[in-house]
């Protein structure tokens, strides 16, 4: 019985490395988070790698220490390792791991704060596209305020240009998530939240909701199709000419009937449906610059 024991400890470590190995070695195309297709997702993946690497170091450190302890200090006859039942304190050791954990937190915190601020405003660009997104039970409505067209359950964007998604809901909360383009943001009734994404290359990027919103939640998916700017413009012109408009009664039917519908395209949409105030940054800068402008323009 006793000679077997240290072996079991090794097996235990080996087993867990296998578990993590499954995660680390997975580099196929299906690991969408590891294959960013735009600057936002890229920046987010950078921090995931940094924090992941430092955390892997801590995990391994703890595993190795634990393995050493288990092998060395087992209670078995003939164990020569020192036994000091009153050893309960060592200032140097304690300060060492206080310092170590503090250092790691600082190393992760600095880029975290930087990136949090950096992603919270639209980067300077010639002509950013704005898309108003409304989550409805169980479908996505996309309205293009600059082009006055609308789509349901799919969205076309120009590649290489930042796109400002303004998110709201006429229903319980959902989140708007296109993993390969960047992280998610909530759609909430009565609020408009901004999210900017950009596709560096043309392509088809699936998106979905991350917040359970009811029985048909599984249908809350959509596709983002990124195409070059000139193709995007052609598509807009074609839609404006060829498709039917979305009338107010169409809109109400979309909101009231809690079912999935197949993707659709509309040449216009009723202007009144989207809330006016955005909670956060807009095309004209972030909240603080807006407040500053407001303050500057106030009649004294």
């Amino acid at each position: 019985m006793t000679p077997k024991r240290p072996k079991r400890a090794y097996r235990y470590i080996l087993f867990m490395s296998l578990g993590i190995g499954l995660l680390v070695t997975g580099c196929g195309q299906q690991y969408v988070l590891l294959h960013p297709a735009g600057p936002v997702a890229h920046s987010e993946l950078g921090l995931i790698y940094l924090s992941g690497a430092l955390m892997l170091f801590i995990i391994l450190l703890v595993w190795v220490l634990l393995a050493i302890v288990l092998v060395r200090f087992r209670d078995k006859p003939g164990n020569k390792a020192p036994y000091r039942p009153l050893w309960e304190h060592n200032r140097k050791l304690e300060l060492f791991w206080l310092g170590l954990s503090l250092a790691i937190v600082i190393v992760i915190s600095i880029p975290t704060v930087q990136k949090t601020y950096a992603l919270d405003k639209l980067p300077p660009a010639k002509d950013p596209v704005v898309i108003d997104v409304t989550a409805i039970q169980y479908k996505w409505l996309f309205e293009y305020p600059q082009q006055h067209i609308a789509t349901v359950n799919y969205v076309n964007i120009p590649s290489g240009v930042p796109v400002l998604f303004e998110l709201t809901a006429e229903a319980p909360m959902n989140t708007f998530w296109v993993p390969r383009l960047g992280g998610m943001e909530y759609t909430m009734p009565g609020e408009v939240l901004p999210l900017w994404l950009e596709a560096s290359k043309s392509g088809l990027y699936p998106g979905r909701s991350g917040q359970f919103s009811g029985r048909g939640f599984v249908h809350m998916t959509f596709n983002v199709r990124a195409v070059p700017m000139n193709q995007f413009r052609n598509w807009v012109t074609r839609v404006q000419k060829q498709n039917h408009p979305l009338t107010l009664s169409d809109y109400n039917r979309l909101v009231d009937r809690h079912i999935w519908v197949s993707p659709a395209t509309y040449s216009s949409y009723p202007i009144s449906t989207f809330p006016k105030t955005t909670h956060g940054f807009t095309l004209h800068g972030n909240m603080y610059t807006q407040m500053k402008n407001m303050f500057m323009n106030m009649p004294s």
């Binding site: 578990g19 200090f73 943001e185």
Partner: protein, 655 residues
């Protein structure tokens, strides 16, 4: 009449599997009634258990309830995993899946983990601090019965009226009447609210017990670590539950009385609920994990035959975690547009918690350093905790790094993370506690051989279940999805995960069998100190007599019992036959149990909006509260002769 029946049993409660369960429950009840009647045990049940205010009895009732709820929550989990096993699967109807993940989460948090923690409080703390009971024994019984009322109400939902189905967090406006008709959400609101009153009362009770009822000589810095973490947990409960109470009450007003706090229309603000919920929800995480940290400290020190390393640092870590835990709740919704300043602040505060937690992990490892590590099952759980929890903590830091969370939020990466900390931390810890204190509670050990089977099945099953879920997060799978198409790469990780879940389920069956087996054949604990323990509970016989300590010990060091053994002073705990004094103990009371009945009637009436039933129950609650204040004879004396007889039969009399 048919109208009432249609409300009680709408079509969605009549699915085949539920009918089978229903019949099963009815048969079990008939069987129990038959056994109790034929063995003439009703009086015994009433006197010894239902009306008992003894912390040991209450602890055992908490323990049994928690194991039952672990079964229910576990079956929910297995059904969820069966549904997700293969793509485009439809073994469950779409609505039922939503109900299952809601009840799984709610039951595991509120009706499994919380009572198991309270079981540990009740079964260990009065012994560890050298006390004869808790500060407010009747309030303690009331806490248990309110928890039981909440649990009964919540579990009734899938048989009568319909289950809640908006997730354990139940964000509005999904819980609004317009999107969620039926009584399911009412069950959620009422059950957690009622159980929450009990939790707050437990918080008050143990806070006062630990502060006021310690044996002479036990200063704060001589308290065992588990007592420290329990003290802090009680304080956390006291401050964390009120926001939940408010959030649930406001949602209830919205649903039952037409107010508009969180609705879509009339200026309601759903996000306010999210804030209130997580203002409770984040400290709740520490309420769940800190007691386990305490248990690990006791178990690791005992089975290393060594003092706890860095006691002072541990105490400060716990206090720091407590303080910081109130400043991190926004990290549950970085993706709700709070702005970069707020997000950055809460991201950094979240990562700061990793520092005291990391210190604790290193301290446990160095408690074993220069020790002599034995590995009975209790210690195996503690050893399994360290490598498991460190992974959960690490992924927690990754989630705390704000922009990383934009990608991880609500994905399976998050699911894997919080199961990793809640199972790897809370559940492993509580199981360590169950195996550690079982002989003290019942007088016999749980079988070690079967315990090892349970441990390895559960531990390996855990890794097989949750590691693939981290991968699923990277593949973009989000939580609470009813089903998924093939071709996204999700099929194989989901299949593996399901196999792991069933392995854990097999482990649980071994555990239940082991309880049954050990009851008959388990090694009896005659010494009262089966593990060569360090703290005062091991100075008592197993199970301890009603009054715990015939003579209250005087404490002069941290590991009080260990020091007594080292200095051959163990006789000081024995009472001298001539010196036996009568002991005043709290008297049984039927009020806590009647409170359960009254609250149940009240809750049931509220759920179905049958006001006269609710008013009846409410009046019952008030009447019982008043009756309780006029009950002056709440103490009784144990006669010295009885004490002499009991101590004599245990061989613990001097002279």
């Amino acid at each position: 009449m048919s109208n009432i029946l249609a409300r009680l049993f709408p079509p969605k409660t009549r699915r085949p599997d539920e009918v089978v369960i229903e019949i099963g429950i009815i048969l079990t009840m008939v069987f129990l009634v038959y056994i109790l009647t034929s063995k003439k045990k009703w009086g015994w049940l009433w006197r010894e258990w239902l009306t008992s205010v003894d912390h040991k009895r209450i602890g055992i009732m908490y323990l049994i309830s928690a194991i039952l709820m672990l079964f229910r929550g576990g079956v929910d989990a297995l059904m969820i995993r069966s549904q997700l096993m293969v793509p485009n699967n439809h073994v469950l109807p779409v609505g039922q899946y939503d109900e299952l993940f809601t009840t799984h989460g709610t039951i595991m948090i509120f009706f499994m983990a919380m009572p198991l923690i309270f079981a540990m409080f009740n079964l260990a703390i009065p012994f560890m601090i050298g006390s004869r009971d808790v500060a407010f024994p009747r309030l303690n019984a009331m806490s248990f019965w309110l928890f039981a009322c909440g649990a009964a109400l919540f579990n009734m939902s899938f048989l009568v009226g319909g289950s809640p189905n908006a997730g354990w967090t139940s964000y509005p406006p999904l819980t609004e009447l317009a999107f969620n008709p039926g009584v399911g959400q009412n069950y959620y609101l009422l059950a957690i609210q009622i159980a929450g009153i009990g939790s707050i009362a437990t918080g008050v009770n143990f806070l006062i017990t630990i502060l006021k009822m310690r044996a002479p000589g036990m200063t704060l810095m001589r308290m065992p670590m588990f007592v420290w973490t329990s003290l802090v947990t009680s304080a956390l409960i006291l401050f964390a539950f009120p926001p939940l109470t408010v959030a649930l009450a406001m949602t209830m007003l919205d649903r039952l009385f037409g107010s508009n706090f969180f609705t879509i229309t009339h200026g309601g603000m759903p996000m306010m609920y999210v804030n209130l919920f997580w203002l409770f929800g984040h400290p709740e995480v520490y309420i769940l994990v800190l007691p386990s940290f305490g248990i690990f400290s006791e178990v690791v020190a005992t089975f290393s035959r060594k003092r706890l390393f860095g006691y002072t640092a541990m105490v400060w870590s716990v206090l720091t975690i407590t303080f910081l835990s109130y400043g991190t709740w926004v990290h549950h919704f970085f993706t709700m547009g709070a702005g970069p300043g707020v997000n950055a602040f809460f991201g950094v505060s979240t990562m700061l918690i990793a520092i005291p937690t990391g210190i604790k992990i290193f301290n446990w490892i160095f408690t074993m350093w220069y020790g002599r590590v034995r590995t009975p099952v209790a210690m195996l759980w503690a050893l399994a905790f360290i490598p498991t929890f460190v992974v959960g903590g690490a992924t927690g830091v990754m989630l705390g790094a704000v922009v990383g969370d934009y990608q991880f939020h609500n994905s399976y990466f998050l699911i894997a993370h919080f199961h990793n900390v809640l199972i790897g931390g809370t559940v492993f810890g509580l199981l360590a506690g169950v195996y550690y204190w079982w002989p003290k509670t019942f007088g016999y050990k749980l079988d070690e051989h079967q315990g090892r089977w349970f441990f390895w099945l559960f531990f390996i099953g855990f890794w097989i279940t949750f590691m693939p879920q981290y991968a699923l997060g990277f593949m973009g799978m989000t939580r609470r999805l009813y089903t998924y198409p093939p071709g996204l790469g999700w099929s194989i990780p989901n299949l593996i995960s399901t196999l792991g879940a069933f392995t854990m389920g097999a482990g649980f069956l071994v555990f239940v069998y082991s309880i049954r087996y050990s009851y008959k054949h388990g090694e009896r604990d005659l010494s009262g100190d089966p593990w060569d323990g360090r703290t005062l509970e091991w100075s008592l016989p197993s199970p301890p007599p009603a009054y715990n300590f015939a003579r209250i010990p005087v404490v002069s060091d941290r590991d009080a019992w260990w020091e007594m053994k080292q200095q051959n002073q163990t006789h000081v705990i024995r009472v001298n036959a001539q010196d036996v004094q009568p002991i005043e103990m709290p008297k049984s009371s039927s009020i806590p149990f009647l409170m359960f009945v009254a609250f149940f009637v009240f809750g049931f009436g509220m759920v179905f909006e049958w006001w006269w039933i609710a008013v009846l129950g409410g009046l019952g609650v008030v009447a019982l509260l008043i009756a309780g204040t006029f009950d002056y004879e709440d103490h009784e004396e144990i006669h010295p002769e009885t004490i002499r007889r009991i101590e004599g039969s245990l061989g613990r009399l001097q002279g």
